[in-house]
Symmetry: C2
Subunit: 326 residues, 2 copies
Amino acid sequence: MKPKLNDVAKLAGVSATTVSRVINNHGYLSSQTKEKVFAAMRELHYQPNNMARSLQGKNTRLIGVIFSDISNPFFGEMVSRIEKILFAKNYKVILCNSADDPQKERDYLQMLMANQVDGIIAGAHNLGIEEYQQYGLPIISFDRYLSDNIPIVSSDNYQGGWLATQTLHQAGATNVAIFTGKSHAGSPTNGRREGYEAYLTAQQLTPHVHELPFELTPALKMMEIKTIMTQHQYDGIFCSDDLTALLVLNVARQLSLTVPEQLRVVGYDGTALIRDYHSELTTVEQPLADISTLLVSLLLQRIEDANCTLESKYTLPVNLIKGLTA
Amino acid sequence: MKPKLNDVAKLAGVSATTVSRVINNHGYLSSQTKEKVFAAMRELHYQPNNMARSLQGKNTRLIGVIFSDISNPFFGEMVSRIEKILFAKNYKVILCNSADDPQKERDYLQMLMANQVDGIIAGAHNLGIEEYQQYGLPIISFDRYLSDNIPIVSSDNYQGGWLATQTLHQAGATNVAIFTGKSHAGSPTNGRREGYEAYLTAQQLTPHVHELPFELTPALKMMEIKTIMTQHQYDGIFCSDDLTALLVLNVARQLSLTVPEQLRVVGYDGTALIRDYHSELTTVEQPLADISTLLVSLLLQRIEDANCTLESKYTLPVNLIKGLTA
DNA sequence: ACCAATATGTCAATCGTTTGACATTTTTAT
DNA sequence: ATAAAAATGTCAAACGATTGACATATTGGT
């Protein structure tokens, strides 16, 4: 069996209490004793049992991270960053892919509770507000309103939508469409669309909104896009995420539309993947590093002091990455 | 505070033992009592404390999943699949991005031990073999030899390398290079390179191996590729991963090389992302679904019966996805 | 009315570690 | 030499749930 605290104590020739004190650096300890104990721990490859520790009320240092699906590069990069930051602070991540399934999300929440996580970073949002509220846990939300006492971190979607549309317009487009997801209440893409509409209205131009169902496979989405693009002669398209923008560029190629002359395209997100492998795409970059840092930092504040007052909303500025498509 | 088993017992008007029995479905129980207890659990939003449970020797149902970085789409997709499969079997994933840093990998292993994970799926491999052996934990490795008693799941890298090269050759290429990572002992890319060399040798052609350092940023890698491609006039390039293939295609565009007429390109991995957004790329697809399923299934076998005999190596067939680049 | 099966309760030990109370010994400073 | 500080020990009660031993009560079937 795995070595326990008592085995270490025996090997080191000290009492169990002393070993515990060494581990927790508690009370008076001579450096010789410490060394003896550490040596014994090394020799036995001893690792204190975190389950037992957390029973005493110690933090588990586990954080639940819920996103819809990390195989989406945007979430993948974000979770990867969050994990790295948390690891540096000695926290571990329990990964939850909710797959946009409310029941799965609910199950995950319960599971996270059962595992005594210290807090949750929520980036998937299908559940009603109450479900998140009823657990008295520190929670920080990414990009969506959950409840009054759950702070939201997001980038400036409105500004991003405005910026994207402005970029298309200034690149010469006048007949500008937006391809976005279904507009859910509280959904982040709403802001992007509002920015888009506001800019066009300010320019006395007409918005053309196309909602592409979220569940569509990329192949189906592409067909849909092709249909839309043949029926309308847009000269500028703002896609509310970069992957959709790639599909639009593919379709443009199929339809022999020259980019950016006949068609201008702006995407959204600006992940490292897109910047590195699709530098041609003009896109609005969300500050993923800052978002991740802030999410973690707020959560840890809440964990350390449950009563600390946090803003209800943190909005980070976006940045336009100028490529060749607009 | 969070409700405990005793609170449920009080509310339901039964003993703590009965509640525990209901939870674990142990011994005689009337359906009325069960209902009363469940009702009380619901009312209190009770979740049994997994820490306390696992102290009795119950499994934690936590699995450590170590990969170098899930922001790489290949690993992202793989971890996403693994997580989904494990969740369906009521296991949770502790996510570990080793970032190709041996020390981080070591820290992760210790952390996973401290958290009493039931097993580990290891897809990052920087540590010496001993380090994985010394923990008597069920471990399954993806694509790399760790130790005799740690089963390896991988796809047929040799066959994949052969297939890719054959595809380039049959598409008309005779001066065929391979772009691969640094060849580490036990590294999976070795097999791909061997398949590449074997095919060329069988065809009386000369292999040209270019090792691109793993750590390079994509931008630097692209420069390197450009240098290589201008110095040599290859008419076929086999990239040991798809992202590198995208860079090669970018460079080809910069150098005004027509694909596939002047230059044929074959990638490797065939993730959903590539299939969906770069269907033009000819690539060797690793059976990610099967690999993930097998990894999980073997691990759970080991967890359920530590002595069960498993093969030391499981090799799954690869599949050529014909695109337009070769 | 009687035996068995079913249902529930009480009690206590256990899992591995932490922590406080208290006692004892050793070291250090004056 | 002496008191304070430092170092270690013993003991036991937590933490929250599980589980076995055992007792008791309620059923149902015959």
